[in-house]
């Protein structure tokens, strides 16, 4: 799985802890995500999936641990620095700017690409999500949930991240929209982006994931190839059945 010893993985999380007040939400997570790899973070409601992504992004300050992007530790930095370092975060609630048009939403996320990387332009983002192109001047608040989810991903991509954090992207979306999202995720993986996606159900995960991590009460209970998880009914029943 890992490359030559000299090249650190794209994202390496080591001993990540997070707390809300006195309650420990994350109990020391260690995992990595490689370039061009989709890692699915699975677990029941409240297992700590969203908090994991927020702690990586700096939105919940990590209580302990390291978050290395290509070897550079980002833990403890403010979110805007983490974003500029190459991490892109798409929140569960999407949090698009409802009063801004689609193009203005993209403009907020837009940053020049680092040297040697093919940067995202408005045209390329509209090519990835054709549904957005027709709505470019519409206020984002007046779009469907699926369109808002696409906009949220496109807005984050506009900052040219090397690793994408997707928090429950398929939540509340119709199956046909989830299928379109899966296509987009596969296209991004093909570009060499690392993707860490949290999901509560296996629908999107099965379509795009390479590896899976199963989270329970803030700790990783199982890690392995997604194919294994899909093959073993007992494993799914134990960790994921409601």
């Amino acid at each position: 799985m890992t490359g030559p010893a000299a090249a650190p993985p794209l994202l390496a999380v080591e001993g990540l802890e997070a707390r809300y007040g006195r309650a420990r939400i994350l109990a020391g997570l260690t995992f990595h995500v490689a370039r061009g790899e989709v890692v699915v973070l699975l677990g029941r409601n409240g297992a700590g999936k969203s908090t994991t992504l927020k702690a990586i992004m700096g939105l919940v300050p990590p209580a302990a641990g390291r978050v290395r992007l290509e070897g550079r530790d980002l833990a403890g930095q403010p979110p805007f620095r983490i974003a500029r370092a190459g991490l892109g975060y798409v929140p569960e609630e999407r949090r698009i700017f409802a009063g801004l048009t689609v193009r203005e939403n993209l403009a907020v996320g837009m940053r020049p690409a680092p040297a040697g990387q093919r940067g995202w332009t408005e045209e390329r983002l509209f090519a990835l999500f054709p549904a957005l192109a027709a709505l470019r001047d519409r206020p984002a608040g007046r779009m469907s949930g699926g369109e808002q989810q696409m906009l949220a991903i496109a807005r984050t991509l506009a900052g040219n991240p090397r690793l994408l954090l997707l928090d429950e992207p398929s939540e509340g979306l119709a199956p046909v929209v989830v299928e379109r999202l899966a296509e987009a995720v596969r296209a991004l993986r093909a570009e060499g982006l690392g993707i860490l996606v949290s999901e509560q159900n296996l629908r999107l995960a099965a379509a795009v994931g390479d590896r899976a991590l199963i989270l329970e009460t803030g700790a990783i209970r199982w890690a392995g190839p997604l194919a294994t998880l899909l093959a073993e009914e007992a494993l799914r029943a134990r960790y994921l059945a409601v």
Partner: protein, 624 residues
Amino acid sequence: MDALILQALNGLASASSLFLVASGLTVIFGVSRIVNFAHGSLYMLGAYIGWTLVTRLAGDGAPGPLGFWGGVLLAALAVGLVGVVIEVLLLRRLYRAPELFPLLATFGVVLIVQDLALWIWGPQDLLGPRAPGLRGAAELPLLGLRFPRYELFLIALGPVVLGLLWLLFHRTRFGVLVRAATEDREMVGALGVDQRALFTGVFFLGAALAGLAGALQLPRESVNLHMDLAVIVEAFVVVVVGGLGSLGGAFLAALLIGELHAFGILIFPRITLVLVFLVMAVVLVLRPHGLLGAAPAGAAPAAAGAAEPVVRPAPAPVRRLGLAALALAFALPPFLGDYALSVLADLAVFVLFATSLHLLMGPGGMASFGHAAYFGIGAYAAALLAHHLAAPMAAGIALAPIAAGLAGLGFGWFCVRLSGVYSAMLTLAFAQIAWSVAFQWVEVTGGDNGILGVWPDPWARDRLVFTYLVLALCAGAGFLLLRAVHAPFGYALRALRDSGPRAAAIGIPAVPVRWLAFALAAAMAGIAGALFAYGKGSVFPTLLAIPRSVDALLMVLLGGVQTVTGPIWGALAYAGLSEQLVRATGHWRLVLGLAIVALVLFFPEGLAGAARRRWEARMAAARP
């Protein structure tokens, strides 16, 4: 008819000035969620700096066009830089603090600027020069009326500034980022935008607009040290009526308030001040987020911090200390002189005043910027009874909590239905209504001259007896309030504070519980007010004014919102400190302002909160 048209034009000119101030305030609030009390001070600084630049640049003669307009623009830029300094040195550290703290910090800035302006420009009113090229009056086409040119210029300026701001916010990257941050600033940060630069930019813009508005007043009115609080209250009204963060709303509201002033003077000359606040109250009741405001979207900021600590009865040693302090207060009076006795009585009154506000702010989780209203209503109730009916003191003290409690029921009915800043602004509006009545209804209240000769009955006229009476009443009322916090009523109140929907889901009636708390706090403040009136022998409108409300806020925050006895220590520390300051230095505002700023920066949990944390840490260290 002509008079009406002229009056409408006057209203438009005022509306433009008001819009300039309010636009800066609303832009700053939209992005930073800070209610900038110092915005009026920036306006005043704009006028003072503009005056200096215009008169200095002109030398001895009247300023030329370059001298005047150049001076006005330079003043706006200079005030913009002052705004940047305030943001970088002070407010930047407070963005994660509860929303009251930045507000108090900016009130500290108000005091500091007042003293600095007094020190630099002196106490006398300064007369500004006329605007070159816009002197005199112009004939209005079609109407055949003459109207001052400078006012016409102002009327045109409002829409022009609105248009320029619209272009800024829709056609530049800075503007788009500002609008995005107004909706969800955390998300803007997660997208890689450095919010600090954005906030500093917004403060520069907002402060420069306030400075411009101030400098543009030069040809209209004299520059004085009262401009700051006069304009900030109006600007608050405009911003709240328009909808916090909404530029278009601010413009509409400025027109509404400007015209209301202009015609109010013609139609209801006696209640002009009340009228404005009545309109604000009506708008907020009909549209809780203002004319064009939107309900705050996205995740509530509550999740950001740790939960509020659970309020428990004080540990035994602390309780013994409190009882000892109380016993000392009751044992001391026979050994004190008249002056010390009156200080002791004042302190007791302030302790009750602060404790009553604390019921709202701590367990209630509601911010009141207008608690002085109930203090003042209690005082005026007693004074009016004594003055017009020659009623005995007992009647006054009995009526005060009833009058203040009824006012609390009336005002509270509206306030408890709104949340956050809107609710706080409504409490401010009601306090200003009460103040306006005391100030303008001269026949009954004596207006600015107040009511004199409100003395205790002969049996209580002796200082010692009166002091014991005050101590006993304040201690009794204070214990009642402390009791309420630990009663089921207090639990319900705190449950609503911590999670309204969950508390409602288990059957706690949100509005009645909050409403009752509001009325109870008002009634207790009313007792404090009546005792204060009898202690001083007089009442004045200042008892209901903004600084008195801020006093109460400061006492509560100084002591610590999340401790039950905090307001007691806060009141003692604050009242003692300000009393000493006023006696010790002419620059008490400066010192007090700096003290407020330091308090907000370094003791955000208040004196009692800091003491408790230290004590708990020591107990934890003692038990391995």
